[in-house]
Symmetry: C2
Subunit: 227 residues, 2 copies
């Protein structure tokens, strides 16, 4: 992932991911309105914590977070005019090698939340127990935590001949990718199960493909799902 804000940076080349963020806006608003029990989730400290996992850099991460906060404030106001609004703390997470310097410089100066960057793999623990109220991850969870070693081992039946994808590959190659993903998603869910407060929400936005359909024939809006 290329950092900075130059011509070839991720920040300037993530319009596909932006579409996903925009498409998910309404779904997140609805989920917060219908499914989130504010009184159960927010304790006496009146703090609402949001984690954006695999945030990268650029405007997409900021738009998603602002949408969540706006939805929360709307819901909160519906309880009446005398409710004390919660404070928001947002954790932007990505790999240690992510360009956090650029991310921090791009945060709005008038932001309505306390911001923090959290370096590390989301396939493992990143936060204390029961410390998050809302976990958000958009276009990130399909990435593997590492290259499976069988793919680059010439003596393995799953050797991938130097390629970095599994299109038109042997079954052994696809199975290896699949097993690595299964291991990663299990670790991800186990970690979040510990970090989310009881009653918290998680939105996972991922590119998905129905069985038997080639991705060449689909638009982003056709294979966007929120869990």
């Amino acid at each position: 992932m290329k950092g900075g804000v130059g011509q070839y940076s991720y920040a300037q080349n993530s319009s596909a991911q932006r579409q996903a963020v925009e498409a998910a806006k309404v779904l997140i608003k609805e989920a917060i309105a219908e499914k989130l029990d504010i009184k159960q989730v927010i304790s006496s400290s009146k703090l609402f914590t949001i984690a954006d996992l695999g945030c990268s850099v650029g405007i997409n991460a900021i738009i998603a977070v602002e949408n969540i906060i706006e939805s929360m404030n709307l819901k909160h106001q519906s309880f009446g005019p005398n409710q004390e609004a919660p404070e928001f703390q947002v954790f932007f997470n990505d790999h240690v090698s992510n360009d956090f310097n650029t991310l921090f410089k791009s945060l709005p100066t008038d932001k309505q939340y306390f911001a923090a960057g959290v370096p590390g793999l989301f396939q493992g623990r990143l936060f204390p127990k029961a410390s998050l109220h809302f976990v958000h991850s958009s276009y990130a969870l399909h990435w593997l935590s590492k290259v499976p070693k069988e793919l680059i081992d010439k003596n393995s039946p799953a050797w991938n001949k130097g390629r970095i994808h599994y299109t038109n590959s042997l079954k052994e190659v696809r199975d290896t990718y699949s097993a690595q993903f299964a291991e990663g998603i299990e670790s991800f869910l186990n970690a979040r199960a510990q970090e989310l407060v009881s009653g918290g929400l998680m939105t996972l936005i991922m590119p998905c493909l129905p069985d038997g359909i080639s991705y060449l024939h689909l638009k982003i809006s056709d294979f966007l799902w929120i869990y």
Copy 2:
């Protein structure tokens, strides 16, 4: 402050600040042992949060945090072998322009805490209300949040003739620096008063100079104070 890890970087040129960290170690250990009421400070969530304000980059920030955690664990063990150890979350704070990328890459892979970077001026709010258990700041609080405008205004009696220090300057220049510092430290203390939990600890390590003594005649160990 020069980022990175090159020859002229802060990380390679902060041995004076390192002396302060080493000198403060024992004092911090004692303060935790004698003054911190763990049962009052740590809630049922068993979380202990530490903020290092003005952390910059390099080994100094990491040493200070590890010392605090070691002291906490020692104290905790003194309650008996069956006590569940708390989790630690550490917030490394500095200006938005700090080199957080280098800081994150230098964090130990076997660290015993959840790490986060927090960009922003410590003269203002950085964290939610009552969310910190331990605030640490070493060799940072003497920096001003900005250059007072009178110093660079040729029509002001406090014009500093292009210099960036107040040694041998007019009283008006010194008073302007002093007023800016007073404003900054007041904002700092007001912000921390909101962010620290009741019973939390704060260690502020600053270079100080007794009245009438020239800094030319002192070593670092002579003017190190912990509040």
